[in-house]
């Protein structure tokens, strides 16, 4: 099953490009001209998202630098102890929605410090693998089309993240606990 998925992952992009170009040629589409026409937007989109990325990434970098995340972690840790959830995974739960590189950093830290057999390593692996950075996705996708009023999108993203954390805890407990 895993092997099959790995092979699929490797082949899907080359296959996709192959099929799209071949169908284009068969249908007598001027593929070179169409490609360059479409590709022109790449620069425009990247420049468009800069203000949104700056706003979100700077705010989150500041929060991480201030030590607020560690403070929050020390407040919640009694609750986690009560439910027998390893406290080491707490910074990860907080940082997961905010910054992808930070989440990966925290996870690598847990994994290398506690080692492969630790329960916290398994739990944090599942937490990191099952999520996308909500605020990054917000900035990129809404930034690209200049949307500044997000309505309930932030709430939905964060609720889904929260449910993800809870189910990661339950699933890990069920399989490895």
């Amino acid at each position: 099953m895993t092997n099959l998925l790995n092979v699929l992952s490797l082949w899907i992009l080359p296959l996709l490009i192959f099929i799209i170009l071949t169908v284009g040629i068969i249908k007598k589409i001027p593929i070179y001209e169409e490609f360059t026409y479409g590709a022109k937007d790449g620069f425009k989109i990247a420049v468009n998202i800069i203000p949104y990325l700056v706003a979100i990434i700077v705010a989150i970098s500041m929060l991480r630098a201030s030590g607020a995340i560690e403070m929050l972690a020390s407040w919640i840790s009694p609750v986690l102890n009560y439910f027998k959830i390893p406290v080491d995974t707490l910074p990860l739960m907080i940082v997961r929605s905010l910054s992808g590189s930070a989440a990966l950093g925290v996870f690598s830290d847990i994994a290398s410090n506690l080692g492969p057999d630790d329960y916290a390593t398994k739990l944090s692996a599942i937490m990191v693998g099952s999520s996308e950075t909500t605020f990054y996705v917000l900035a990129v996708y809404f930034g690209a089309i200049n949307i500044s009023k997000y309505r309930y999108a932030v709430a939905v993203g964060l609720i889904a993240d929260f449910i993800g954390i809870i189910s990661a805890i339950l699933v890990t407990y069920w399989l490895f606990g």
Binding site: S9, I12, I20, L21, G24, K27, I29, E34, F35, G38, A39, G42, V47, L53, V54, A55, I57, V58, A59, I60, S61, M62, R64, A65, S66, G67, M71, F107, A111, S112, P116, A125, I126, V128, G129, S130, S131, E132, L138, V140, Y141, F142, A144, I145, I147, S148, K149, R151, Y152, A153, V154, V156, G157, A160, D161, I163, G164, S167, A168, V171
Partner: protein
């Protein structure tokens, strides 16, 4: 979003001052700003490439074909989009790319989908219901194999790293479905309040 932005920054400054880390906070403004531009610029090349490929796919009718194939599902989910909207094909491409862990390829498809949704959006600065739903589904990060996590586990000598694939899939699926459910719930609540 205005309040979130305000609180993130104000809390950082206050907590930073209390912890004596104000210098770090100031430095992080610089490094954060620099990082944002780096991320944006690193997207340009790959974005241009996939947008070019997508343009060909669009002209040759492949996107239309995909949209028609998954229509039964998307018609229910994105019921506010016109039924012939190219956004639906882009959404499909975005999810397939994400599922295979191809984040770099998924982003241009997702942005393309957002642009198509923007075309039929009445208020250009405000997210439509379809946009919120699509964004929610994307933040759940549905992925078949968590490649980066596996790489880290292998590097620390984890004996059987593939054992985390199934649980991760279960969790990401739950988050994905709850994003859809909550988008739909919020959509109703939001309309009633206005």
């Amino acid at each position: 979003m205005n309040y979130i932005f305000y609180f993130l920054i104000v809390i950082s400054i206050i907590v930073g001052a209390v912890n004596g880390k104000l210098q770090d906070v100031v430095d992080s403004v610089m490094s954060g700003a620099e990082l944002s531009v780096k991320i944006a610029f690193s997207l340009i090349g790959i974005m241009a490439f996939w947008l070019g490929i997508m343009q060909i796919a669009q002209k040759s009718g492949i996107i239309d074909w995909i949209s028609r194939t998954i229509k039964p599902v998307t018609r229910r989910l994105f019921n506010e989009l016109p039924q012939d909207s190219p956004a639906i094909g882009d959404v499909a491409m975005n999810f397939s790319a994400n599922a295979f862990g191809l984040g770099n390829a998924a982003t241009p498809f997702g942005i393309k989908a957002m642009e198509e949704m923007q075309k039929v959006n009445d208020k250009k600065d405000t997210a439509s219901n379809s946009m919120c739903l699509f964004l929610g589904m994307n933040t759940a990060g549905f992925q078949l194999i968590p490649t980066t996590v596996l790489a880290v586990l292998v590097s620390i000598g984890y004996k059987n790293p593939t054992e985390i694939i199934m649980p991760t899939l279960i969790v990401t699926l739950i988050a994905f479905l709850s994003a859809i459910v909550f988008s739909k719930i919020f959509q109703k609540l939001w309309r009633n309040n206005k």
